[in-house]
């Protein structure tokens, strides 16, 4: 099912903050001038960002490219710890260095309809995909889930480009009450899709993958792992698959759901 677009070599680029705005509680949108990365990035790929130099935390942090806008790439980030906390303080004009574009992104192939499923910040890697699919005339449906209305992100973007956007929150503060799989289950009963692309907590991705399997719809999932190098060297980011261990940074982060051997303990969100 997956076609393999030519993937450009990653580059190390000095990127400059164009804007960094609060989107909602604990979520920010960073716009980075990154002409070289922007030139070749595919949806679902990520950058490995060096947030701080000389800080006591030394590793880079991986972030999906949420959107591309000419020379600029956007990163939608949730404040989770030290690195993202520092990211929040970056101001226009400040520079960081980024390696990218990295990994294998969404490669849905030739499709005419697609269901995108996002849990919370899982919407990040789906933004560019929704735009690209819509531009290609694909009928895009988006199911957005979050714990509460304030945790919903990127709704505006999806509403702009998708044929339909459904919202589910656990506390019912916006849209239907429950988990996003409530909605996807219903939609999958009502109609067929050529592909499902999901990103969110690993439990959600897994549940969606099961629904997809049951509905016999090909499903791609974007998985998160702790990453040191980001370029396939250190073996810190392995994902158990039916073909053995694969590197999330190189063979992923997007995997065919069918090949994933789900193992909750591998996900960094276990914490």
């Amino acid at each position: 099912m997956r076609t393999k677009p030519e993937r450009a070599h990653p580059v190390l680029e000095r990127v400059a903050v164009v804007a960094n705005d609060r989107v909602t509680e604990g979520v920010g949108l960073l716009r980075l001038r990154a002409p070289r990365i922007a030139a070749t990035v595919h949806s679902g790929q990520f950058i490995h960002l060096r947030i701080a130099v000389g800080a006591d935390f030394i590793l880079r942090r991986p972030f999906a490219v949420h959107r591309r806008d000419g020379d600029v790439i956007e990163v939608l980030y949730r404040v989770a710890g030290r690195g993202t906390h520092d990211l929040e303080t970056k101001r226009t004009g400040q520079e960081m260095d980024a390696i990218g574009p990295l990994g294998r992104g969404w490669e849905p192939g030739e499709v005419s309809s697609a269901l995108l499923v996002a849990g919370g910040i899982g919407a990040a890697p789906l933004g560019m995909l929704a735009e690209d699919l819509a531009a290609r005339g694909v009928a895009v449906s988006v199911a957005l889930g979050a714990p509460s209305g304030e945790r919903l992100v990127a709704r505006g973007l999806f509403e702009r480009v998708a044929r339909r956007v459904g919202v589910v929150t656990e506390d019912g503060s916006e849209g239907e009450t429950g988990l996003v799989t409530l909605l996807t289950a219903r939609w999958l009963e009502q109609e067929t899709f050529d592909v499902i692309c999901a990103c969110g907590p690993e439990g959600m991705a897994r549940a969606v993958a099961e629904q997809a399997r049951f509905a016999r719809v090909p499903c791609l999932v974007s998985l998160e792992r702790l990453m040191a190098c980001g370029v396939g060297v250190c073996l810190s980011c392995v994902v158990s698959t039916t073909h053995g261990l694969k590197k999330a940074c190189k063979h992923g982060p997007v995997f065919d759901a069918e090949e994933v051997v789900w193992d909750a303990s591998e996900s960094p969100q276990r914490a």
């Binding site: 990653p10 190390l12 030394i58 702790l226 060297v233 392995v238 261990l245 591998e266 914490a271």
Partner: protein, 322 residues
Amino acid sequence: MPPSPRSVPEGMRPSTGAASVDMTVQLAGLTLRSPVMTASGTFASGHEYAEFVELERLGAIVTKGVSLEPWPGNDSPRIAETPSGMLNSIGLQNQGVEKFCEKQLARLGGVDVPVIVNVSGHSIAEYAAVVERLEQEPGVAGYEVNISCPNVDEGGMAFGVGCTPAAAVTRAVRDVTSRPLIVKLSPNVTDIAEIARAVEAEGADAVSLINTLLGMAIDPETRRPRLARVVGGLSGPAIRPVALRMVWQVAQAVALPVVGMGGIMTGEDAVEFMLAGAAAVAVGTANFVDPTSTRRVTDGLREYCVRHGVPRVRDLTGAMDQ
């Protein structure tokens, strides 16, 4: 790392151009173009970083550890960040020596840089068997025998924390190869100099140190260890003072050349290791932080030599002023 704000005093910049520093060093019978090597497990077999640095400018590429049969490595999570460092418990995941020769070595064939293969084993016999297989490969410049991996249950560090097993592994490998043989020492010992002397006596051509310090981290929120395997190896700038001390101790204890590593991020860090007695250095965790680290360290080392009027980088080895 930010550029050091320490400015070069006027008049100290010698007129000698950068090109005039002799960067070659001798190591275990090899002539290296530069003392800057890669640390095993942090550079794969070089291919991934070829997009960021010229492999040909490296002193040597030291590969990820290779064992006889494929090893699956440890469960995830395999890394955790710590103050100025990181823990890893990769566990020597590798595809086994056959696949290694077929894929990685073959790929490095066209690259003009010495390839030193890092060798692992669960038993003394396995170390020897891996090396025997590699002897058939012309592309191998030498071996680094890892008796210090803290991330495997059998073998690994167990061989590196006692003189007797360390000597036995060295002897077994020495018996099957006349190629350059580097033994990689564990810092998790009371007296590293004693282990160095033991492997020297059994015919090692060089020692490299340090491998990672055994460490651990717990997530207070979940009460679970941050690494699935509970403990792992600490690397990065945090361990540099310990590494430097051990290099200094070992360099005084043995006649063998020493490859120093542990938290090297800049050219000046490399200078410290050479002054303490290292003939060459290896860059590990820094590659993850900045994929151009090996180049940056090499350039920094050369600039230091220019600035201080050091004609041959090897003159730095052991040149600490006490």
